[in-house]
């Protein structure tokens, strides 16, 4: 893997920021778009409706998912200065940055928003209160933010892109969707010969030993990851049961809707792709002509 990181360092169209962010262009950007295009073609097979959502999510909505008690270590908040003129004056009169580049904040405005931690949350909030008369398929991509203790280029980033395909419906409808999507994704791996194992996993709960949600995920596994070369999860298939349906009052028939999603980490897919096929675009399989079926 270090070989891959050295290769990235020598790629002029790529730049790694040590605070967990990547900048890239040219062939790498083209790869990013082709991968996302592949996932969109997959979403198209389910006639998934595509949505684009903002960067922020209301903290009040996320609290309905116990997000802040389950994942406090991950969450990132947008912060603004308190709008009072004296406060703004004090900020601009002082030296706004210290020698380490740390901003010397004066009073801050109340924080009511969170930077998107997972793309699909927006979809459940969007459908809040709805009654579904059939299964509903949706897809969205967003930049997601997850604070980590360490970062690695394309593999573990503070901000990264996630494409998700979601199904809401009855337990049976969601189960069928997840099984079929998993088979289709497996066929993609087989066609481009990307070595992937499917492995059961749990979400990264804070203090898992004390987390009831972690315990239940262990007792009733609902997450399966696509693991590249035994060490990097580049996507996952997740069954939420009726957790989001209950939290956001989305109903299918008389009951809280079930939901499930297939999630793709785009930068991680890029990493797996580059590790497998090398940094030169001429050696890459043609994703545009790949059949998704």
């Amino acid at each position: 893997m270090e070989v891959m990181e050295q290769a990235l360092e020598q790629t002029s169209s790529y730049r790694w920021h040590a605070n967990g962010q990547s900048a890239f262009g040219e062939d790498l950007l083209s790869l990013y778009r082709k991968l996302d295009g592949l996932f969109l073609r997959l979403a198209g097979l389910y006639r998934a409706r595509e949505y684009q959502f903002p960067t922020f999510i209301s903290a009040r909505e996320l609290a309905k998912l116990d997000y802040f008690t389950s994942f406090p270590q991950i969450v990132t908040f947008p912060v603004c200065l308190d709008a009072g003129e004296d406060n703004l004056q004090a900020f601009s009169d002082g030296s706004p940055l210290d020698g380490d580049g740390q901003v010397r904040l004066t009073a801050t405005a109340p924080v009511r928003e969170v930077l998107t931690p997972a793309a699909c949350y927006h979809l459940y909030i969007h459908l809040q209160g709805q009654r579904l008369d059939g299964p509903r398929h949706l897809t969205t991509r967003n930049t997601c933010f997850r604070r980590e203790t360490h970062y690695l280029p394309l593999q573990r980033q503070w901000s990264f892109s996630m494409r998700e395909i979601v199904c809401l419906g009855s337990a049976e409808e969601v189960k069928r969707f997840l099984e079929s999507a998993r088979e289709r994704v497996a066929r993609i791996f087989a066609q481009i010969k990307l070595p992937i194992d499917w492995k059961p996993a749990t979400d990264p709960f804070f203090r898992p030993q004390r987390s009831a949600k972690y315990l239940v995920q262990r007792l009733d596994p609902v997450k399966t990851e696509m693991v590249f070369e035994d060490r990097l999860a580049i996507g996952s298939v997740n069954l939420h049961r009726n957790y989001f349906g209950e939290a956001f009052d989305i109903r299918r028939g008389d009951e809280a809707a079930f939901s499930g999603c297939v999630a793709f980490g785009l930068e991680r897919w890029m990493f797996a792709f580059l590790s497998r096929f090398g940094p030169s675009a001429g050696d890459w399989p043609d994703l545009d002509t790949l059949r998704v079926l």
Binding site: A212, K213, L215, V216, L219, D220, P221, N242
Partner: protein, 88 residues
């Protein structure tokens, strides 16, 4: 110790009663012993912790959370098998 006096039918009835009371989604009599509990989210994750405490009380012995495996809480049958059969 107290569980030695309890019959299987009695334990199963207590378990069904607890799940129905806690869940509020089913009345006793609607819950069959082979009905999935976690899969249907009859009880929430926090209630699973309460269930573990209840099981400890019911069988008079602690539950080692580290040793719990997928399927342990699938339904009343599985709970009975896991916590009330293997005991001496």
């Amino acid at each position: 110790m107290s569980m030695e006096k309890r019959s299987e039918a009695d334990v199963r009835e207590s378990l069904r009663g607890w799940v129905c009371r806690t869940s509020g989604k089913l009345s006793p009599g609607q819950l069959r012993d082979d009905m999935p509990i976690l899969e249907n989210r009859l009880i929430t994750s926090l209630q699973v912790m309460e269930l573990i405490l209840y099981l400890e009380q019911l069988r008079g012995a602690p539950v080692d959370v580290e040793k719990l495996r997928p399927g342990t809480f699938r339904d009343i049958n599985a709970i009975y098998q896991s916590f009330f059969v293997s005991e001496n």
